[in-house]
């Protein structure tokens, strides 16, 4: 148990192993980060980086027979790797809740919006029906529905994608969680709707001192909304720090390369360089830096030395033998 009540989510030397048919596959290796009360922390990564597996591990959505958690992972001081299922059920939906990329698949198509929020309330609280109704209206206006009464009587198929995601946020916040896990919640939405949804989320984060653990592949997006960022690559945390530091002064060559290949307005015939090669496969673990094969600053020892994460500035930590200065 951690002593600091302000740390809502903490991973220490977290490794995750997917189990299938008696075999184990390591998907995340030695990841450490902390999310404080009221903080918006974004974990960014490309495919195969392990970001979604980490989010699922926090909720323990996969049974221990499928996902083995090594190291420590705690939510409000409770060890997610070892907590009995009953304690997990209390944590989920109460201390923490989660929203997903595709709201339609998470909503029940044959229940009204009100009934779905009500279900979340009844599972974790014992309120009178008048109190529950008031709470449902409050939640729907929190996610910026002008006519909460009208929306509450509607079914998911009557709503647009953005409205569905706002309903998901209302359900997720029903029991005043401390932590909201958001796994690419706006990837399926148009950019104007994405902005609407995220601005609602950020406003609620401030209003309720909510901690947001945000999973994304989009650096530009998290740059706009996150307080701190962790950069994952091939199952390993390459760099963490304040958003301003990581984006403004990246310490890891991977972060720098990723920033350099975000497309920008092109002047004349100038080209931006991409990163040669591909992300490492999840079943291909080796000593040395995960990014070494594609790194333009690579030294011979990068390919063979096990590298620990170390401080690189007041807010930054980096896993690199030759960090950028």
């Amino acid at each position: 148990m951690t002593g600091d009540p302000d740390i809502i989510l903490e991973a220490r030397n977290l490794s995750l192993f997917l189990r299938q048919d008696g075999a184990e596959l390591k998907v995340v290796d030695d990841v450490s980060f902390r999310v404080a009360r009221g903080e918006f922390f974004a974990l960014i990564g490309e495919s195969g980086s392990g970001k979604t597996t980490i989010a699922k591990a926090v909720m323990r959505l996969l049974p221990t027979g499928k996902l083995r958690i090594a190291g420590s992972l705690s939510v409000t001081g409770i060890d997610v790797a070892r907590a009995p299922e009953q304690a997990m059920r209390k944590l989920r939906g109460q201390a923490m809740s989660m929203i997903f990329q595709e709201p339609m698949t998470s909503l029940n198509p044959i229940m009204t919006v009100a009934a779905q929020i009500d279900e979340a309330l009844q599972t974790h609280q014992s309120l009178s029906s008048a109190a529950r109704h008031a709470r449902i209206m409050q939640l729907l206006s929190d996610v910026r529905f002008d006519k909460p009464e009208q929306v509450s009587a509607q079914y998911p198929h009557e709503l647009s994608g953005g409205m569905r995601q706002r309903v998901m946020i209302a359900i997720a916040l029903a029991n005043d969680p401390l932590l909201l896990i958001a796994d690419e919640p706006t990837t399926a939405l148009d950019v104007t709707i994405q902005q609407e949804v995220l601005e609602i989320l950020v406003r609620l984060q401030g209003k309720y001192r909510l901690s947001v653990f945000f999973i994304s592949h989009d650096l530009a997006l998290v740059n706009r909304y996150a307080n701190r960022i962790g950069v994952l690559y091939g199952g390993v945390l390459m760099e963490t720090g304040s958003t301003a530091d990581v984006i403004g002064r990246p310490a890891h060559p991977y972060t720098e390369a990723l920033l350099a290949c975000m497309p920008r307005l092109r002047e004349g015939t100038a080209r931006q360089a991409g990163i040669e090669g591909n992300v490492p496969r999840v079943d291909d673990w080796f000593d040395g830096c995960r990014f070494a094969q594609r790194c333009t600053h690579v030294h011979p020892e990068c390919r063979s030395t096990r590298i620990d994460i170390s401080a690189a500035g007041p807010t930054q930590s980096v896993r690199c033998l030759h960090p950028l200065s």
Binding site: D218, L258, C261, M262, P263, L265
Partner: protein, 262 residues
């Protein structure tokens, strides 16, 4: 600057019928309303819009996968579509190729790359030896090796699969390439490789590209001019620099302001 018009879409309208449902009568949804666009030779023109804007339908009409209700499509001087005269040249005879969003689902997993890339030529009656030669050339143009002809799609990464999709498109020596969100399913670190490849083949083959996308950042990097679609209508058009730096229409302004930037 004043290249001839390679592809001209004039007065294109398209309405989709939504079939009747439970207690709900059938109704018409207008997808495109009187759209006219000139794409100049060897330019990359972006059709930008959000979902429901009609951008994909417009691309499919240009390729011949969809028939407009009214309007004409010209490739240079050649008439491809003229609804008033009942003309509709089939997709296979247009000289326009297409690349798709998802390279995995658009490549047949049971076919070798040789057959995927060569299929269009085979259907056009080209001989086997010439097919092999042209498929190998197309593969070289997209940065793959001749040995890759014998492999299957699952043996490639996402970025390489999109290269195969591009090889399949250019092997037909099209005058125009229609690309519908070709980099949207790729990782950021791979996306730039494919964007640069599209620029390279445009330069080498003097190809005209109609690039359908919702991704403004990609348009900024890749496209010479852009057309902004909203609910089936063109709200703004111009050089990418002009539109990005000084958008005139309220919708474009709202769209650009919503795009997160670094």
């Amino acid at each position: 600057m004043d290249e001839p018009v390679a592809l001209r879409l004039s007065g294109i309208s398209k309405t989709f019928m939504t079939p009747a449902g439970f207690l709900k009568p059938a109704y018409r949804t207008p997808a495109l309303k009187d759209i006219s666009i000139d794409v100049r030779a060897s330019e990359i023109l972006a059709i930008v819009g959000e979902s429901g804007s009609g951008k994909t339908t417009l691309g499919r009409i240009a390729v011949g996968l969809e028939k407009p209700d009214s309007g004409t499509v010209h490739l240079g001087e050649r008439i491809l579509v003229d609804r008033s005269r009942g003309i509709h040249v089939p997709a296979s005879k247009r000289g326009i190729s297409m690349i798709f969003q998802d390279p995995t689902s658009s490549l047949n997993p049971r076919m070798r790359v040789r057959d995927i890339v060569g299929e269009g030529l085979r259907l056009a009656g080209v001989g086997r030896r010439e097919i092999s030669e042209r498929a190998a050339n197309a593969l070289a143009l997209v940065g793959l090796r001749t040995e890759d002809l014998e492999r299957y799609p699952h043996q490639f990464s996402g970025g390489q699969r999109q290269r195969i999709g591009i090889a399949r498109a250019i092997v037909m020596e099209p005058a125009v390439l229609v690309a519908d969100e070709p980099v949207s399913s790729l990782d950021v670190s791979v996306q730039m490789q494919v964007l640069n490849l599209i620029l390279d083949i445009r330069d080498k083959l003097k190809l005209t590209v109609l690039f359908v996308t919702h991704n403004i950042a990609v348009v900024e990097y890749l496209c010479d001019r852009m057309v902004v679609l909203s609910r089936g209508e063109i709200v703004e058009r111009g050089s990418t620099h002009a539109v990005i730096q000084a958008p005139q229409h309220a919708y474009t302004q709202r769209l650009l302001q919503a795009v997160p930037r670094l």
